[in-house]
């Protein structure tokens, strides 16, 4: 059960980083909404779970936070990628690509080997 959660948390962290990469600065609610949207509503995400993940990312130094004002004038905490975070994201993305590539080879039809 724990391992699954770890994997899930790792994936969530990636998704958050990617979201921030595309969207720039965003608040917790916005990030959660966005993740749901991007996954095509296929992920049933409890919004609250982004917050522990955001904390961990901030502790690692991949994101930084700042209080600001949302579009409708609400006070909200905004997160954005740090330089280290961007590097981390690039690294992880590359790894994903490689992994997917290798797996794809295994599942490819026989002739292409």
């Amino acid at each position: 059960m724990d391992k699954k959660r770890d994997v899930w948390q790792g994936t969530l962290a990636l998704m958050i980083l990617r979201t921030l990469d595309t969207r720039g600065a965003e608040h917790g609610y916005g990030i959660a909404r966005r993740i749901e949207q991007v996954s095509g509503d296929r992920l049933m995400l409890n919004y609250g779970t982004v917050y522990p993940a955001l904390l961990k990312l901030e502790q690692e130094g991949s994101i930084s936070s700042e209080w600001g004002v949302s579009d409708n004038g609400r006070k909200a905490k905004f997160y954005k990628l740090t330089r280290a975070g961007r590097a981390h994201l690039k690294r992880e993305a590359r790894q994903w690509e490689e992994t997917t590539d290798i797996i794809a080879r295994f599942f490819a039809p026989e002739e292409l080997q």
């Binding site: 409890n46 919004y47 522990p52 904390l55 949302s70 006070k75």
Partner: protein
């Protein structure tokens, strides 16, 4: 900017709450826009969020993990840093341990001996009431007559009681032991608020002259004699050869003024008797103030009472006054000065230790500045840096603190072993944890403070400046600060050394004083004959005669005699006397002398020289022989300065009848009370005419005196099996105990100053070593340019010694100012004694030179290649 501590947690909680709140609001708004109603919107938002409580806990877990990780990492880093620099770590921890150890040890002792409240109910309201003699002794014993009148006439005490002490033989069957017994009036123990452990206290009816004898025993006696058995209550024992019933047991550790007392008995004063007719001043008086009455008011009223008594009883009370003194003051006054001096010394030592630690930290961080700057540049928060520095100081502080507490425990045990016995008998040392906290906190705070200093330096200055390697700007502000610290350490050490030096010279002075007798090879022991079995005076004289005869026949005994009070014991009887042919003076206004009663052969045995006339012979030692006296030189000088003393008649106020007697001899002075006081006039009786039941035997032997102890005990036992022998010790031991206090103080202060010196030496070494390291390039250049290594040596040494000399000068000035405080402890040496100060300065300079020499030599040996290579 991350701050440490509880504020951060509060802020984080608040922010988390705000963030979640705003999350909900945004979600609800979104839902409303999509057409849900208020209730629905809220419900959907909540559902979508998931468990709020759970989420909050997850976030909090995240905080904890981080905090733990960071702390662990800091700790790890700090320990690694210290291990990589063992010299620095050892020096810092040792400095801390020594400073903390000394402080805790002395504060503990001072607390237990000086500050702890007396173990009685409301001890601040207990007063000693003394008589004040016309010459001005304001702690004079009290007469029974005056006490009874005080009791009747005062308005300020809710109770007032008297007491005194004597040794007593305590026996049951054939077992006998000499105990110290306190005689108390019935209201004394209740006044103290003490409850017996078993049984009960005395009643008023038992405190009358003819009441049957009842006694209270101490816990120790209850255990050692009766095994803690409750059956001891009601048992009849023999006290001073008279039967007495035990009615109670006092609690363990209970004492009143004398820890040695094991037995209490009612004093049995008769309120109807006129004590002024036949007894003198031999009691001590303690009283409890009424609620609301101050000591001053009591003093005023008692003075009025005293005046009234002066008028009513001119014969005994003219010019005698009253002194009301808080009980605590009367107990600690002699010790107070020594204790305060020691506390002062400890303060100085702690300061030196702190200075050392500060110095070491500064030096170390100065050399790590570059590293600090680098870490700042790559993004470690300044807060993080500060945390790491503090962690290191805390680690040092804890290590030093633990070691220090261990040292303190050893020190306390050691100090108790060498402390004067009368201060420490039966004491139970209680350690106050506030003391430990203070002693550990102060160096740690210093460490933290100085540990933080470099973080300010490193972060305020231009970071690139720090990165640029340089040896020039290093000896700048911080270098000066370190030099000042070393100078301060040196100054403080000088003060401690000067104090110790003066005390040692005092000790030497005391030991070289001629006591007036020959203490070597003398065995002493006391025998106290009970009045019940030795009622007749002749019986007592015969006992001592018989004992001395037999002792004289023992092999190894050169001569033997006995005296009522041994010199240097601090105790002696004293009274007025009259000289024939002169008008009789009022009591207290005329000649007075210390009185001793001796057996024949005393002066020869103890080594007091005869100056004129003759000493007592056996023929004098009969009750029928005419009264004869021997006096000392001080007596003659004071009262018969230009006259012939031999043949003059004097009468001394010791007994019921005091016939005039002829002075037959003059003997040399003995420093009666203490070695550093002038001898008092003394009159010696022969035992037959003043037959004290208790005498101290003195036996001169060429052998080791204590080897005869067993033989003496057996001999006395053979004469009277029920008679215990007490205080068997050599005369030299007695003499040594006279200046036990000075020895103790001197040793303590000597110990401190040595520690301080060691710390200062470490400080000097440390500063110079680092200075050399930093100036390595400069030195290398000099050498490359052809400088003589000896010049380098002198250069470094010179720099160091300048600081030391400055500190020594400041210290000497300070010492001159402060040693005046020691005056009351000094003997034979002034508080500004030039020889002592000169020696101290020389010792300090020698040690400083040694400490400075090593780094200086290292500097002079630097090969230019190595020097220039260092970055």
């Amino acid at each position: 900017m991350r701050l440490a501590g509880p504020f951060q947690k509060e802020r984080r909680e608040r922010e988390m709450a705000e963030e979640f709140e705003s999350h909900f609001q945004m979600h609800v708004e979104e839902n409303l826009r999509q057409g849900m109603d208020a209730a629905q919107a809220l419900r959907e938002a909540r559902l979508k969020f998931g468990g709020v409580h759970q989420t909050k806990e997850s976030v909090r877990d995240g905080w904890t993990v981080l905090a733990l990780e960071t702390t662990w990492r800091d700790l790890h880093y700090a320990i690694r840093g210290l291990r990589g620099n063992p010299g620095f770590a050892a020096a810092a921890i040792l400095s801390l341990a020594l400073g903390i150890g000394a402080s805790v040890a002395i504060f503990t002792l001072a607390d237990n001996l000086l500050l702890r409240p007396l173990p009685y109910r409301e001890p601040g309201r207990l007063m000693m009431v003394w008589e004040v003699s016309p010459p001005g002794n304001n702690r004079n014993s009290v007469s029974a007559g005056n006490y009874l009148d005080w009791k009747a006439q005062n308005h300020v005490f809710e109770s007032i009681a008297v007491f005194n002490e004597r040794p007593a033989a305590f026996a049951e069957g054939s077992r006998v032991e000499e105990l110290q017994e306190q005689f108390v009036s019935a209201d004394l123990l209740p006044m103290l608020g003490v409850q017996p452990l078993r049984g009960r206290l005395f009643t008023a009816a038992e405190d009358l002259p003819n009441a049957s004898s009842v006694v209270l025993i101490s816990y120790r006696v209850w255990q050692s004699w009766f095994g803690g058995d409750d059956g001891a209550i009601g048992r009849t024992v023999q006290v001073r050869s008279r039967p007495a019933t035990i009615i109670g047991v006092m609690p363990p550790g209970f004492y009143f003024r004398d820890r040695d007392v094991d037995l209490w008995e009612p004093i049995g004063l008769d309120p109807a008797h006129d004590y002024r007719k036949d007894s003198g001043r031999y009691l001590m008086c303690v009283a409890r103030l009424q609620p609301g009455v101050t000591r001053d008011r009591a003093q005023t009223q008692m003075t009025v009472v005293a005046r009234r008594l002066q008028a009513d009883y001119p014969q005994s009370n003219t010019r005698w006054n009253v002194n009301v003194e808080p009980l605590r003051d009367s107990l600690v006054s002699e010790v107070r000065v020594s204790m305060l001096v020691l506390l002062g010394a400890v303060g100085l030592l702690l300061a030196v230790a702190c200075a050392n630690v500060a110095n070491l930290l500064l030096a170390r961080y100065m050399s790590r500045r570059r590293e600090m700057s680098v870490r700042l540049v790559i993004g470690a928060g300044r807060g993080r840096l500060v945390r790491q520095l503090i962690t290191e100081s805390v680690v040092l502080g804890l290590a030093g603190g633990v070691l220090g507490v261990v040292l303190a425990r050893l020190a306390v045990a050691g100090l108790l072993a060498i402390a004067p016995a009368d201060l420490t008998r039966n004491i139970a040392i209680v350690v106050d944890y506030r003391i430990i906290l203070f002693a550990v906190a102060s160096p740690m705070l210093t460490g933290v403070l100085f540990g933080l200093a470099p973080s300010f330096v490193a972060s305020r200055a231009d970071l690139t400046l720090g990165l640029r390697e340089n040896s020039r700007t290093s000896v700048g502000g911080a270098g000066l600060l370190r030099a000042w610290l070393v100078a301060a350490e040196v100054a403080l050490s000088v003060i401690l050394l000067a104090g110790a030096g003066l005390l040692f010279r005092t000790l030497a002075g005391l030991q070289s004083v001629d006591p007036g007798l020959n203490p070597a090879g003398l065995l002493t022991f006391r025998v106290e004959l009970p009045e019940a079995r030795y009622h007749e005076r002749l019986q007592r004289t015969q006992f001592f005669e018989r004992a001395l005869q037999q002792i004289g026949r023992l092999p190894g005994v050169e001569s033997a005699s006995a005296v009522s009070y041994l010199p240097f014991n601090g105790m002696a009887a004293g009274t007025d006397l009259a000289i024939a042919g002169r008008p009789r003076a009022l009591p207290g206004a005329g000649p007075a002398a210390t009185v001793r009663t001796v057996m024949p052969g005393y002066f020869r045995t103890i080594g007091i020289p005869l100056k004129r006339g003759r000493v007592f012979a056996d023929a004098d030692d009969t009750p029928d022989s005419p009264y004869r006296f021997v006096v000392n030189q001080a007596f003659v000088e004071k009262y018969m300065a230009h006259e012939e003393p031999l043949g003059q008649q004097i009468s001394v106020d010791m007994d019921d009848t005091n016939p005039f007697g002829e002075i037959i001899g003059v003997v040399g002075n003995v420093k009666e009370g203490a070695l550093d006081q002038e001898p008092t006039p003394t009159v010696y009786y022969i035992h037959a005419h003043l037959a004290y039941p208790g005498m101290v035997f003195v036996v001169r032997t060429p052998l080791d005196p204590l080897s005869l102890a067993g033989a003496m005990r057996r001999l006395i036992h053979d004469i009277d099996p029920a008679q215990p022998v007490a205080q068997m010790r050599t005369m030299e031991t007695v003499l040594r105990e006279t200046f036990a206090r000075q020895t103790f103080s001197a040793l303590l202060l000597g110990g401190f100053s040595l520690v301080s010196l060691a710390l200062a030496a470490v400080g000097i070494y440390g500063v110079l070593a680092y200075s050399v390291t930093e100036r390595t390039r400069e030195i290398g250049v000099r050498v490359a340019l052809g400088a003589d290594p000896r010049r380098i040596l002198k250069l470094v040494l010179g720099g160091g010694m300048r600081v030391v000399l400055f500190g020594a000068l400041a210290g000497t000035v300070g010492a001159l100012a402060l040693t005046g405080l020691l005056k009351s402890l000094l003997f034979g040496v002034t508080s500004y004694d030039p020889a002592t100060f000169a020696t101290v300065t020389l010792v300090l300079i020698a040690v400083a030179l040694l400490a400075a020499y090593l780094p200086a030599r290292r500097a002079s040996r630097l090969a230019p290649v190595d020097a220039l290579k260092v970055e």
